[in-house]
């Protein structure tokens, strides 16, 4: 049943438009394995996309230096995913024209959803490295889509532990500022659930348009509401703007971020970073693999890597290792391999694996807290970190969504 439309589409493709593409396809079969990297490189998530691209390139070069994938060279293609429509069109082009074995990347949850639909239809592999929405691991999960990036539930529960320790949840009333798109809506839902389960509440919440750069009206509203804690569910360049203006207005309410990217704190400038935030990885982690990655990245790009770089670097490495171990680039075999609980080194204390139920990478997270302004002397080392969450003796599933919170049934 499902085979039929594919054959006709391929026939039409060859017959009508693929005179140019055909040589590329036959060429790709033999000596190279292609990964199509697709992530926002412009717009409000563009600042993060750059780290993603650099890290993916670094990983691919390391794979090739170590002999490639079963002797075949790994070739990376790079595209700007722009928005969900463009992301969908480019994903389709990667698969049909460039014949990539796998798509890696994305940051926007809305675009990742669109790519998920394409890979479902085309039976192609997609490793999501930056989209957090729980829905991508729940109602919108896909058999061929895997998530190196943590889900919103993991972010909230990881930083939530640090916030509980600081006494910022129980009996406290929060004011939430939330990015008004798929990611933010999902995060607000998860954050609200967490607050309520732990004896706190979100008293007021504002949805903020993603193109908003001036937060001053919201600073006045925060001052008026006098919350016990300000919950930041923003994304991309907005976080930088928020930090700069929060410090400009001299507000003193504790800040708790539920979504975060380190590069945005670095971009805020001296003394402007404050609050407690969750992250999948940061450059101050003290293990040999992390130090090596930080040194290599720094040497090549003149700045330390951050969590987004970590995601894309590991995604490329995981795919390359899986295909090498399997001696095959067949997407369905890779899916089976990843679902079997294969372990991967992801530059942390513990190895990580994908959960078969929803394809989420099970790995530790960290809560980072801004140093006091006067101690932020180095442009990058501006925070202190908690230990790994969950701790060494706990199951990695301790912070991930439970089956009740996000149910995934892979569509066939």
């Amino acid at each position: 049943m499902t085979e039929l439309p594919r054959i006709t589409r391929r026939g039409a493709l060859l017959g009508a438009a693929a005179v140019l593409a055909a040589p590329a396809i036959s060429h790709a079969q033999s000596d190279v394995v292609r990964i199509g990297h697709l992530t926002p490189r412009t717009g409000f998530l563009g600042p993060l996309g750059e780290f993603a691209v650099q890290a993916a390139q670094l990983a691919a070069d390391e794979v090739n230096a170590a002999g490639g994938i079963n002797g075949r060279k790994l070739e990376m293609l790079f595209e700007d995913s722009v928005n969900p429509q463009t992301a969908s069109a480019k994903a389709e082009r990667y698969i049909k024209r460039d014949n990539v074995t796998c798509i890696v990347g994305e940051i926007s949850s809305a675009s990742a959803l669109a790519i998920g639909q394409v890979v479902q239809r085309e039976r192609a592999l997609f490793i999501n490295t930056g989209a957090n929405s729980d829905a991508l691991r729940g109602s919108d999960c896909r058999k061929t889509m895997f998530h190196v990036e943590g889900q919103n539930s993991m972010y909230v529960k990881a930083v939530g532990r640090a916030l509980l320790d600081k006494g910022l949840i129980k009996g406290k009333k929060a004011y939430a500022l939330t990015a008004d798109y798929a990611f933010g809506h999902d995060l607000l839902k998860v954050a609200r659930r967490f607050m309520e389960q732990n004896g706190g509440s979100i008293g007021s919440d504002d949805l903020v348009p993603t193109d908003l750069t001036d937060f001053s009206p919201f600073m006045l509203k925060l001052r008026q509401a006098r919350p016990d804690v300000v919950v930041v569910n923003l994304a991309g360049a907005q976080i930088t703007n928020f930090l700069k203006q929060y410090s400009e207005y001299g507000l003193r309410f504790p800040v708790a971020g539920f979504g975060f990217d380190t590069a945005l704190a670095w971009g805020a400038g001296k003394g402007n970073f404050l609050g407690t935030w969750p992250t999948m990885w940061h450059h101050l982690l003290d293990n040999p693999a992390a130090k090596q990655f930080t040194a290599d990245f720094r040497k090549r790009f003149g700045k330390p890597p951050e969590n987004q770089a970590w995601g894309d670097y590991n995604a490329v490495k995981i795919i390359a290792k899986s295909m090498t171990d399997l001696k095959s680039v067949d997407p369905m075999k890779v899916v089976e391999h990843l679902e079997s609980g294969a372990k991967f080194d992801v530059l942390k204390e513990r190895e990580a694996y994908f959960r078969a139920r929803d394809h989420q990478l099970m790995t530790t997270m960290y809560a980072i807290t801004a140093l006091p302004p006067e101690k932020q002397t180095d442009p990058y080392d501006i925070f202190t970190s908690s230990g790994p969450i969950p701790g060494p003796d706990e199951s990695l599933e301790a912070i991930a969504s439970t089956p009740e919170e996000a149910t995934c049934t892979f569509p066939s």
């Binding site: 348009p209 750069t213 703007n241 670095w266």
Partner: protein, 291 residues
């Protein structure tokens, strides 16, 4: 109590209006005199911000405050002389394509030089702080922006209304052929107008760099708003643009207060409303050459 907070938002909106003003005025000037819709105007704003970040470690924020607009003004003269000048009398679509291309080149150049991640920059220590007037909270730094913007507006108005330079420019807006027939070449005036216009955009970039993310797409972010201000104010109208900038700031503040998801959309709704009631904008003039 409710009213006090609303009033605070209105006051804050006046401050925000000052942001858009410096960019919108330049945009309006270039369009009025040259007939060019300058889609690259936001790029000059971004370049101003990046220059501030680059120069401040050497000459301080106050040094950059002067140097960046001057440098960008000089860049404007070069671009006017070699690019814009060819398109004053051409089909507007050509200058649209040219300036759109320039904007993309500038954004990508910034990305290649400085990287896509925001570059750090903070308010100078001397200008930090808040002012409390009764129940109201005002940012000291934003008051400074307002003061500078007000000085620029007054200076520009005096330049256009009270000097020989201004008379020629205003005559050139209405009837360039007659100005030519009187033996006055508009070319040097056009260069000067572009230099002033992009210099003001750069000044806005310098002043906003400490309170907004300095990243390559920042020019594109602010340009749309500047256009909306010019359209609401009415093309060719100096005070129309000033009034529109203030109204846009206030409407935004009120929208953020009552219905935050529409903070940005409210401004476009306002534009729609104004255009329905007054198709030329609030104080738009009939400019013979564009009819």
């Amino acid at each position: 109590m409710e009213f006090v907070f609303l009033f605070e938002q209105v006051l804050n909106g006046l401050l925000i209006g000052a942001y858009y003003l410096l960019i919108a005025l330049g945009l309006s000037l270039i369009f009025s005199l040259g007939g060019i819709v300058n889609l690259a105007h936001g790029a000059f704003y971004a370049i101003g911000a990046y220059l501030a970040v680059t120069l401040a470690p050497y000459i301080g924020f106050s040094g950059a405050f002067v140097a960046a607009p001057v440098l960008v003004g000089l860049l404007g003269i070069v671009i006017e002389r070699f690019l814009l000048r060819r398109f004053y009398r051409a089909d507007p679509i050509l200058s649209l394509l040219l300036t759109f291309g320039l904007a993309m080149v500038a954004e990508q150049a910034l990305r290649m030089i400085y990287g896509a991640a925001p570059v750090p920059f903070s308010i100078p220590l001397a200008l930090r702080g808040q002012i409390f007037i009764g129940d109201f909270l005002l940012s000291q730094y934003r008051l400074m922006i307002l003061a500078v913007a007000a000085l620029c507006v007054i200076g520009l108005w005096l330049l256009l209304q009270r000097t020989y330079f201004g008379r020629v420019v205003r005559a050139g807006v209405q009837n360039p052929d007659m100005v030519g027939a009187l033996g006055i070449s508009l070319r040097p005036y056009m260069s000067a107008v572009v230099a002033i216009a992009v210099g003001l955009a750069a000044l806005a970039g310098v002043m906003l760099a400490p309170i907004t993310g300095v990243h390559p797409a920042m020019g594109a972010e602010i340009l749309t708003f500047a256009f909306v201000v010019v359209i609401i104010g009415g093309l060719g109208s100096f005070w129309g643009v000033v009034l529109a900038a203030i109204i846009v700031g206030v409407v935004r503040g009120i929208a953020a207060y009552f219905f935050p998801p529409a903070t940005e959309a409210s401004v476009y709704l306002l534009m729609l409303l104004v255009l329905l009631l007054r198709p030329r904008g609030l104080f738009g003039e009939r400019i013979a050459k564009f009819e």
